[in-house]
C-alpha cells in the first residue's frame, strides 16, 4: 500500500534540513556550474568564459572544459534556466545587467592565477543555492525516501524503518554530501534506485519492461559520476542471479542512458571514451607537494593507471587504515553506527544470502578502487572528505536493518548519537591538513600507520564550539540580506572560518538597550521547528499532552530561546567588519575594518550624555588617516602610524548612536600588495579592546 503522506513527510523533512545547510565550498562546484552556465548562456560545451574560477578543468585544443562528468551540470540546467526566466521576468531591470559575476579578485595557487568574484549578482548567488538544493539536496532526500521504501522488504516494523532513514539521512556521509553541488549524492541516488528496482523485480513486484528503467537510471548515474560503474557491476551480478534473460533489457536501458556522455566526449575530444579529458588533458592538476612523488604524470594515460597500481600496492593497507579507522578520514571513526552494518550482515546472510554477498562485494570493490584517488588528493572541504565512499552507504543500511532487529537499541544509541553529532559538528569551514604536510613527514606517517591528521579535534571541534553548526544561508540572510551559500577556502579570507558577527541587532527598547540576537547555534532552532511542524501530529500523539501541558511547554520553549539566544546590550558592531581571525585554533580578539565601518552605541537615558569611547587601533600596511563620525558628525581625525590606544569623549543622543570609522586613504588588499599569498580582504584598520566608559565613574 502506498503511504504518500508518510513518504512526503520523510522527503520534506530531509529535503528542508539539507537545503538549510547547503554550502558552496570548492572548485568542484565552480567547475560543474561553469558548464551549466556555458550551455545556458553561450550554447557551448567549453567553459572558456569561466575557466579562471576553478582549477578543476581540462585543456584541449585551445579550450577549457570541466574535468567532471557532465551529468550534474545537465541536471542543473533546467533549474538554472527556470530561475533565469523567473528572475528576469520578475526583475526585468536586472535582465540587462552585463557583468553577472561582479568584481573579480586574483589569487594564485602554484603560480597559476585564479579569480574569485567577491560580489556576484543576486541572480548568480540565487542560482548557486538553487542548483545545489534541487540537485544534491533533492537527490539525497529522494535516496532517503528510497531507503524507506527498500526497508519494507526487510522489516515490517515501522519504527525500525524510520530509524534506518534517520541513521542514513543524518548519521552518515549522506548528510555532508547532500549540502554541496558535487556528483556524489546523485550518483548514489541513481545507483540505489537501479538496485531498488531490481529488488522489486526479484519480489515479482515489477514488470519485466521496467528493468529497462533500472538500466536507464544506472546509465544516467554514469553520466553523473563514474562510481556508478562499480554499482553497475553489482546490479548486473544481482540481475544475473534473478533472471539471466532480463539482462538484455537492462543493458539496453543502460546503453541508451549513457548516450549523452558518449556524445559529449566525442564532441569535445573526438573519442567517445575520454569523458572529461581526465586521461590526457587535465590542465592545472592541483596535486599537493606531498603526493607528487606517488603520482605519475598526466600524459601517460592508461599506463599511468597501471604504474599507479603498482606503486599503490604496498600502500594499500596504510591508506585503508586512514580511510576506515583513523581520525584522518575514518569512515567508522566518524560514523561508528556503520560498524553495526557488518554485524547485521551476519544475521542478514541467513535470510538474504545473495543481497548480503553482493553488499560485501560492493564494499570491497570500493575499498580496492577508492585508494587510487588518494594518490592525487585525499579530498576535503565537505565533511572530512571521504566522499567517494558515499554510493556504497545506502547499501550498508540494508544489513543494518537486521542488526536493529537483533541488537538492543541501548547499545546502538551512543554510536548513533555520535554519528549524527559529528555531521552537525562538521558544518564548518573545510580543512585540508593532509595536503599541507611536508612530503617526508607524510610518507613516514603513512607507512608507519600513524594518524595523518586529526581534523575533528584540531579543526572542527574548536570551530563548532564557537560557531555552532553553521547554516551559511541563514547567516547571510540575517547579516547581509542575501541568499549566499559560499564558504570556500579559495575565497582567500572573504568567507571566513568564524561567523562574521556573533550578534545581530533585532530592535531597540527605550530605557533598556539594544536587543541582540545571538547567532552561534541559532541554526538549530529553525531545524527543530521544521521537524516539529512536519511531525506535529505524531509527536503530540506520542506525548499525549493536555492543553495546559502544551501551553506550559510553549512558554518554556520561548523562555529557553530567550535565555539562550537573546542578549540586552548597549554596544554592537555594525556594518563592514570582517570576521575575527582564526589562527591554529586561537581567536584573534581584534576585528579588521573595511574602508568605512560602524559600531552602534545605545543611550538608554532620555537626555544627551557624555561617555568615553576607548579602543586600540592599528593601521594595515601603511599609515592611515582615521576619521570618526558620531551620527554623521566628524568628531575625531588623526594619522595612525602604528598600534595606538585612543580615548575620545562622545556625546550620545538618546537612543541608538552610529559611530563610523573612516579610512581617508581607503583600504588595501594584502594579496595585491604582495604581503600575503591568499588574502583578498580589503583592510584599513584593526580595532580591539573597545570600551564604553561612563564618565561619572
Amino acid at each position: 500500500m502506498i503511504n504518500i503522506s508518510q513518504d512526503i513527510k520523510i522527503f520534506l523533512t530531509f529535503f528542508l534540513i539539507f537545503s538549510f545547510f547547503t554550502q558552496w565550498v570548492s572548485w568542484n562546484e565552480f567547475s560543474r556550474f561553469a558548464l551549466t552556465r556555458a550551455i545556458s548562456e553561450e550554447n557551448v560545451l567549453n567553459i572558456d568564459s569561466f575557466y579562471n574560477q576553478t582549477g578543476d578543468r581540462s585543456y584541449y585544443e585551445g579550450h577549457y572544459y570541466t574535468d567532471k562528468a557532465p551529468g550534474m551540470s545537465f541536471t542543473a540546467l533546467p533549474i538554472y534556466t527556470l530561475w533565469k526566466l523567473v528572475y528576469h521576468l520578475g526583475l526585468p531591470q536586472l535582465a540587462s545587467q552585463v557583468n553577472l559575476d561582479g568584481i573579480g579578485l586574483t589569487y594564485y595557487v602554484k603560480e597559476v592565477a585564479f579569480t574569485y568574484y567577491q560580489n556576484p549578482s543576486n541572480f548568480l548567488l540565487g542560482s548557486m543555492f538553487l542548483v545545489t538544493v534541487f540537485t544534491s539536496s533533492l537527490f539525497s532526500a529522494l535516496t532517503v525516501l528510497l531507503l524507506y521504501k527498500v526497508s519494507k522488504y526487510f522489516t515490517d516494523n515501522e519504527k525500525e524503518r524510520l530509524l534506518i532513514v534517520l541513521i542514513y539521512g543524518l548519521g552518515t556521509l549522506a548528510f555532508s554530501h547532500a549540502l554541496v553541488f558535487t556528483s556524489h549524492s546523485a550518483e548514489t541516488f541513481f545507483g540505489f534506485l537501479s538496485f531498488y528496482l531490481l529488488l522489486k523485480f526479484k519480489q515479482n513486484k515489477l514488470r519485466r519492461g521496467s528493468l529497462f528503467l533500472a538500466g536507464i537510471f544506472l546509465g544516467f548515474g554514469l553520466v553523473v559520476g563514474y562510481s556508478s560503474l562499480l554499482i553497475g557491476a553489482v546490479c548486473l551480478l544481482y540481475l544475473f542471479s534473478i533472471n539471466k534473460k532480463a539482462i538484455v533489457i537492462f543493458l539496453t536501458g543502460f546503453a541508451l542512458a549513457i548516450l549523452p556522455l558518449i556524445i559529449y566526449s566525442y564532441s569535445i575530444f573526438g573519442t567517445p571514451f575520454d569523458f572529461t579529458g581526465r586521461l590526457k588533458y587535465l590542465d592545472t592538476i592541483p596535486i599537493p607537494a606531498n603526493l607528487e612523488k606517488f603520482y605519475i604524470g598526466q600524459d601517460s594515460g592508461v599506463s599511468s593507471g597501471l604504474l599507479n597500481f603498482l606503486r599503490l600496492t604496498p600502500l594499500l593497507i596504510p591508506i585503508l587504515s586512514q580511510m576506515l579507522i583513523f581520525p584522518s578520514k575514518g569512515l567508522f571513526f566518524y560514523h561508528p553506527i556503520l560498524i553495526f552494518s557488518f554485524i547485521g550482515l551476519v544475521y542478514a546472510y541467513k535470510k538474504y544470502k545473495i543481497e548480503s554477498m553482493l553488499i560485501v562485494f560492493l564494499f570491497t570493490l570500493f575499498l580496492v578502487i577508492i585508494p587510487f584517488q588518494f594518490l592525487i588528493w585525499w579530498g576535503a572541504f565537505s565533511g572530512v572528505g571521504l566522499r567517494y565512499m558515499l554510493p556504497v552507504v545506502p547499501f550498508l543500511m540494508i544489513p543494518l536493518i537486521s542488526a536493529l532487529k537483533k541488537i538492543d537499541l541501548k547499545i546502538l544509541i551512543l554510536p548513533l548519537c555520535f554519528s549524527i553529532f559529528v555531521n552537525f559538528l562538521l558544518l564548518q569551514y573545510g580543512e585540508d591538513t593532509i595536503s599541507m604536510m611536508n612530503p617526508s613527514q607524510y610518507e613516514e606517517k603513512l607507512k608507519n600507520f600513524q594518524v595523518l591528521s586529526d581534523p575533528l579535534i584540531n579543526h572542527y571541534l574548536p570551530l563548532f564550539l564557537r560557531n555552532g553548526p553553521r547554516s551559511i544561508l541563514f547567516e547571510n540572510i540575517l547579516l547581509n540580506k542575501k541568499i549566499d551559500i559560499r564558504l570556500t577556502p579559495h575565497s582567500c579570507g572573504l568567507t571566513p572560518p568564524i561567523l562574521q558577527k556573533s550578534e545581530v541587532l533585532l530592535f531597540t527598547l527605550p530605557f533598556i538597550g539594544i536587543i541582540a540576537l545571538k547567532l552561534p547555534f541559532l541554526s538549530l532552532v529553525p531545524i527543530f521547528l521544521v521537524i516539529f511542524l512536519i511531525w506535529k501530529k505524531e509527536i503530540l500523539k506520542k506525548l499525549n499532552l493536555s492543553s495546559k501541558q502544551k501551553l506550559l511547554i510553549l512558554i518554556g520553549s520561548i523562555f529557553i530561546f530567550i535565555v539562550l539566544f537573546i542578549r540586552i546590550t548597549n554596544f554592537l558592531y555594525g556594518e563592514n567588519w570582517y570576521a575575527p581571525e582564526w589562527h591554529n585554533g586561537k581567536l584573534d580578539t581584534g576585528k579588521w575594518a573595511y574602508q568605512n565601518s560602524t559600531i552602534q552605541i545605545f543611550n538608554k537615558y532620555q537626555k544627551e550624555i557624555e561617555k568615553t569611547f576607548a579602543f586600540n587601533i592599528e593601521p594595515f600596511y601603511e599609515l592611515r588617516t582615521l576619521q570618526i563620525y558620531s551620527n554623521d558628525k566628524l568628531v575625531f581625525e588623526d594619522i595612525i602610524k602604528n598600534e595606538t590606544r585612543i580615548k575620545k569623549q562622545l556625546n550620545l543622543t538618546p537612543g541608538l548612536n552610529v559611530i563610523k570609522f573612516y579610512s581617508v586613504e581607503g583600504c588595501d588588499i594584502p594579496t595585491e600588495l604582495g604581503v600575503r599569498d591568499c588574502d583578498l580582504r580589503c583592510l584599513s584598520f584593526k580595532i580591539y579592546n573597545v570600551q564604553i566608559i561612563s564618565n561619572d565613574k
Binding site: I39, S40, L213, Y264
Partner: protein, 71 residues
C-alpha cells in the same frame, strides 16, 4: 459485491500501469532529447541549449514522479 470490488481494483491497476508506461516513455524521451541537445550544443547548432534543457527537464521531473508514485 466482491466482483465489483475486484473490477475497481483491476481498473485502478490498469490505470496505474498506463501512467507508469507513460512515465517510462517520458524518461526515455527525456534522455534522447537530452542526448540530441548535447550533440547540438557540441556542434554549435542553434537552440541546442534549449533542447538540452527541455530533455533534462523532462527527465528530471519524470524521475521525481517515478520515485514518489511508482517506485
Amino acid at each position: 459485491m466482491v466482483s465489483k470490488k475486484i473490477k475497481i481494483l483491476e481498473k485502478i491497476k490498469s490505470d496505474k500501469n498506463k501512467q507508469e508506461n507513460l512515465l517510462v516513455i517520458f524518461i526515455t524521451f527525456g534522455v534522447l532529447i537530452l542526448s540530441l541537445g548535447v550533440y547540438m550544443v557540441g556542434n554549435h547548432i542553434s537552440f541546442g541549449s534549449i533542447i538540452l534543457t527541455i530533455g533534462s527537464g523532462i527527465f528530471y521531473i519524470s524521475i521525481i514522479l517515478f520515485v514518489f508514485f511508482f517506485a
